[in-house]
Amino acid sequence: MSRPAWEDFVTATQAAALPDSGETVRPTRGLAASLWVGALLLILTFLVAYPLLMLVFGALSDSNPVVDGFGAFRPSIAHFVEVLENENVRLAFFNALAACGGGTALAVVIGLFFSWIVVRTNTPFKGFIAGASMIPLFVPPLVAGVAWGILGSPKTGLLNTSLKWLGIDFRFDFYSMTGLIAVFGMYYAPYVYMFTASALRNMDPSLEEASEVSGASAFTTLFTVTFPLIAPAILAGTLLSFVVMLGIYGVPAALGAPANISVLTTYIFKLTAWSPPLYNTAAAVAILLMIVTAILVWAQQRVLSGRSFATVAGKAFRPRSLDLGGWRWFTFGLALVYLLIVVVLPTLALVVAAFRKFLFIKDFDALFDSRAYGLSHFNAVFDNPLTMLSIWNTLKVGVITALLGGALAFAIGYTVNRTHVRGRRAIDLLSTIPVAIPGLVVGVAYLWAWIGLPGGLYGTIWILALAFIARFMPDTVKALSTSFLQIHKELEEAAWICGRGVVSTIATVVLPLARPGVVASMTLLFVLAIRELGSSLFLYTSDTTVMAVLLLDYYEGGNTGKTAAFSLVQTLILAVLLGLTNWLSRGAAQGGSRVG
């Protein structure tokens, strides 16, 4: 296909035709530009580079930053090697690989199957299936873990109570590696789905028709033409879901801990929770987790930037839909079963556990005894002063993260995409690094970076907000860059010709046009921030606790009723905020399109 070559040619000629406007047209702005770049680099160093460096130093030393200060710093690779040779670390590492590997395999099967059903068959209510199968993306991992603990704990699990009542001898045990894999696979299938569905949608249908005309059956065509063609998308989705699972704390904390299964994330937290805390070891394990993540993210980017051959230049296709006949009710049924397992059952479990005074259910009939239900758990949750504090803190952190992070991402996105200033590559690189750092590692790095400094950020909600800003920087900048690319460069140039300066042009032309993108990015940041657990774990204090952390507290306190009640409260708050921000950003998008 000649398209890539053609594109290269166009970009090359454009690059040749357009002079380097930032430097040649307005040389007098050199100083201002340097100051600007310097300021951005300083902020990014403060947010990203410094904590990471401290993390590396921590991993290479055996001194305690709190007690010893920086003076006692004695770098040595030996410490790092020693940690890697530790049997527990190795166990956590292989557990993580097994849980995420198995979970990814399941996620690929589910995601691929659903994308095929939705894009390529005449299964009824496809739109509903497509929308509903994305719900798992919005469920906080810890809530999912808690719900499945209530459903599938070997003794008191609601599923097992039902099985017992039905007289079936089989018992589920979700406090196991299998349980971990099952929950990972079910909840992270949408990541695979997103990639494969769009690849299937963009595929030239005649590639499959050619196979059918050639004499291949529909089944043969699926495995010799369709799947090989979308292989890059499948691989990209696989790698992404693996990386996401690797960085998840909530699910293994809820399901792995009761069975003494440690993965890297839970092991790192365990190290810092020991007395005395093993911060150096935690830093070393965090680095290990970061390296694995970075390799996988790099591989995923390689796959995505490789020429995907499933699509053909600039042509819109009507995706072929296969007539399944009576089987389409079978595929519809499978979709319903998936939704039942992933959405309905866990929600029911949380509701039952939250409203029941005692979770012990001696038989199935007892489940419907109304006297056993009440609001006692909710009362207990709201009697705890920490509950309201955590909600309030979460909102504060969310708003700070969204506003500061959005503004910073706008500055970075504009500088990288729209100017030719020197140093913009360094800005781009620094702001992209966090993509390869799991949230938990960001938390450990910030802990290292600030705990030793007196009167610093540690212990305020600002350290949480800054950690979130750093952690989600790549996502935000990427979301914003897309909206910059849609604003034609000439719109800006026209404003310059009219005599406006750079700042004035941004204020009067770029910002109004990019408003939907800016609002959408801030919304995204807000939502990501209020549900983040991994990085909060290391940075909260009793005054700055947030919802996700408090939920973990309840869970580890062992009171299932309170945990379930707070899970529901948290889910409800998330749903309301999600709806609200979605409504707000849609309004902004419409306002923006009127401007455009």
Binding site: S206, L207, V213, G215, A216, T220, T224, F309
Partner: protein, 366 residues
């Protein structure tokens, strides 16, 4: 001998509204190439896809080599892979994850009748389309023209009963299109393949087709040899679509056999060939090609006097805009020298066999 392809009263309706294919019937004898020609949306591609089995017809019957493959009235529908057909797609549809050899060998591997020497057949077919040296290349490294050759080889390698070609040249650039067009005919004739070819390009249709079927609005207007389509178009649309862009309006004075006499008003009377049963008093349109206007000649029949409004020199030819008794007429003079004046009176002859009269449907309806 049975026709390789027989289509009887084919209907394909998508939902409600006018059917995309509306009662089309024709046959393709073995070894012949039939081209379906028409503007986009005329139903030609839908007809082809019905023959392939990629669309499911809602009425009529399709038979390939004497075997009915689609007859919705009887609930009969044979799947594409059991129709023994080959197909070349507009987008080439060459599988990018395979090499040239793998692409061409694919049908042999996945056919019911296992064929003996796959390698030899692939080699022979690649040589036929001129890609003998490209067998091991990955498909993505090929140019558009080479990819279309791979697609052709892939559809020929198993000697199907019928080859379907869906605008195979329209994604190529102009020069390559002409080259591949001539070569396509050579290859098809060399292999003795029966072909059904769909295009919107009239030159392609004339060069490739043994017969051409012109379609519009889901209906087959005329199916005939290229010479007849060009010289005896069955109706005003066919005439216009094949290039007779001049239209003179008038009233029928009388008709004898296939020759009608028409009053053009101020310009005078014109004699024209007609395939329709025109009667005196009917409104008529006379269609003729700009190339067929003889400038500066005063012939025995259909001699007129016109006025040159504008002369446009185009290098290889010159176009004259003429006024003929208040009606516009375009004339084309071949050659690099323009021989007539840019303005003033001019004698011209419109040979009766190149003037075709049709009932003026618009006018009659008004």
């Amino acid at each position: 001998m049975t026709a390789a392809l027989l289509i009887e009263d084919l209907v394909k309706a998508f939902g409600t509204g006018r059917p995309a294919v509306d009662g089309v019937s024709f046959d393709v004898p073995a070894g012949e190439i039939v081209v379906l020609l028409g503007p986009s949306g005329c139903g030609k591609t839908t007809t082809l896809r019905c023959v392939a089995g990629l669309e499911h017809p809602t009425g009529g019957r399709i038979s390939i080599a004497g075997r009915a493959v689609s007859e919705p009235e009887r609930g009969l529908l044979v799947s594409p892979r059991e129709r023994d057909i080959g197909m070349v797609f507009q987008s080439y549809a060459v599988w990018p994850h395979m090499t040239v050899r793998q692409n061409v060998a694919y049908p042999l591997r996945h056919r019911r009748k296992a064929s003996g020497d796959i390698d030899a057949k692939v080699k022979e077919t690649l040589a036929l389309v001129g890609l003998a040296d490209f067998a091991e290349r990955p498909a993505t490294s090929l140019s558009g023209g080479q990819m279309q050759r791979v697609a052709l080889a892939r559809s020929l390698v198993y000697h199907p009963q019928l080859l379907l070609l869906d605008e195979p040249l329209s994604n190529l650039d102009a020069k390559l299109r002409i080259h591949l067009r001539d070569e396509l005919r050579r290859i098809l004739k060399q292999t003795g393949m029966t072909g059904l070819y769909v295009t919107h390009d009239q030159t392609e249709a004339v060069v490739l087709g043994d017969r051409i079927g012109v379609m519009r609005g889901g209906k087959l207007l005329q199916m005939a040899a290229p010479g007849e389509i060009y010289n005896r178009p069955a109706d005003a649309f066919v005439a216009n679509f094949t290039g007779a862009s001049n239209v003179l309006r008038g009233t029928v004075l009388g008709r004898s056999g296939e020759i009608a006499m028409i009053d053009l008003g101020a310009a005078g009377r014109i004699e024209a060939w007609t395939p329709q049963l025109l009667a005196a008093g009917d409104s008529a349109r006379v269609a003729l090609r700009a190339e067929n206007v003889r400038l500066g000649e005063r012939g025995e029949r259909n001699a007129f006097s016109g006025r040159v409004l504008e002369r446009r020199y185009q290098g290889m030819q010159t176009v004259y805009d003429l006024d003929l008794g208040g009606q516009r007429l375009e004339a084309l003079e071949l050659g690099t020298a323009a021989r007539h004046h840019a303005d003033g009176e001019i004698a011209l002859t419109l040979p009766p066999e190149t003037c075709w009269a049709y009932r003026d449907e618009e006018h009659a309806a008004a």
